[in-house]
Amino acid sequence: MTGVDLAVSTSAIAPASIAVPLAGAGTMAGFSWLLPRWARDLLAIAVALATTTLTLILMASSAGHPMIYWFSGWRPSGGMVIGVDYAAGPLGAGMASLAGVLASAALVYTWRYFDSARGRHHALILIFLAASVDFCLTGDLFNLFVAFELVAVTAFALTGYNAGHPAPLQGAINFAVTNSLGGMSVLMGVGFLYARTGSLNLAQIGQALTGRHADGLIVVAFALLTGGFLVKAAVVPFHFWLPDAYGSAPIPVCVLFAGVMSELALFAVIRVWDTVFSGLPAGRGRGCRRCCSGSGSSPRWSGRSWHWPRST
């Protein structure tokens, strides 16, 4: 259990950093009609900033040694993972705090941008933030899929939000259909990996695959997972949905797409590669790893670079 019981943390910061935005979103969705407009905006921004602070604390305290939090105390027993965990490292917590900063910025921008809204977009952006944080911190492959579907569903709703004419709706539909197909691909990859290793925990799957021959099933699972995440990241051969969605989404939502969603998907490729597949004998190459993380940081490979002139 090399990767699993590194530093078991009982601190409540990791679960709190998703509970805070979710509670905020529930409050905004249920009780926002009781509050005046400025109070709703202030409350939503305060919740987003609180989430950012929590993830920054998490990033600082997990530097050097990843923090593992087991939900309800279901720790691994006898070498088998039986619970769902958060495995927060500096990279994941840093991505989560980036999502927090950009969600706060988007909420500040919407103060003037959506005048007729009755508080729904606050709840949607906060759910988007909670799902992004969940996605960055989770150590469970299926939880990764669910968190990303939640990010995507709130993003569809935000794309077609407050649409006065059909273009944003068409963009939202294209976006939703393409991303759902990507999500199905990810889910099939999750199923194949479970069939081979009998686990859904990223670290334990990686351990089960270490040193094993990369057979057809593992290669197909890798292709399905990577392909699904690259559809969501809109990296060049999979970028069909991107012009429709970016061209029609409201500007503060574009901030969340470009700044959070694409990066999250590339982060997922790196995380799944590094934790799950890098132990395979065929996956040891430093060149492969550099190529994988290099394409994550270079915007040239992302479909959004050629779209920038169009959206502004």
Binding site: G160, P166, Q170, I173, S180, L181, L187
Partner: protein, 115 residues
């Protein structure tokens, strides 16, 4: 049994995608997407299936000895059904809005309204 299930998965998934690509109506498109989605559920259930396994209810083990099918895969399929329901509901709501605003459900006619 097993080969048949995987054949059904491939058939449903490919025909669902074929329907999505060639669709002339947004409602039809959403239904085709649900068909493709159901392929993933069958795949998950098939991965967790054990021949002659009983349902994963462990209350009276002495009355039902022998292997059980994998409850983890059933939980995954159930969660996927929930995710699929959310996506379908949202897409149908968007299709209703499209019909209200543009008066058509044909994706190609809708594309023409963008310019």
């Amino acid at each position: 049994m097993s080969v048949l299930a995987y054949g059904v998965v491939a058939w449903l998934f490919l025909f669902g995608i074929y329907g999505v690509v060639t669709s002339r109506n947004l409602i039809h498109l959403v239904v085709c997407l649900s068909v493709a989605q159901s392929a993933t559920d069958i795949l998950l259930l098939e991965i967790g299936y054990r021949t002659d396994g009983h349902a994963p209810v462990f209350v009276s083990l002495s009355a039902h000895p022998g292997p059980a099918v994998d409850p983890v895969m059933q939980a995954l399929a159930l969660t996927d059904v929930v995710v699929g329901a959310a996506v379908t509901a949202l897409l149908l709501a968007l299709a209703v809005q499209v019909h209200k605003r543009a008066g058509t459900l044909d994706p190609d006619a809708l594309r023409a309204t963008r310019e």
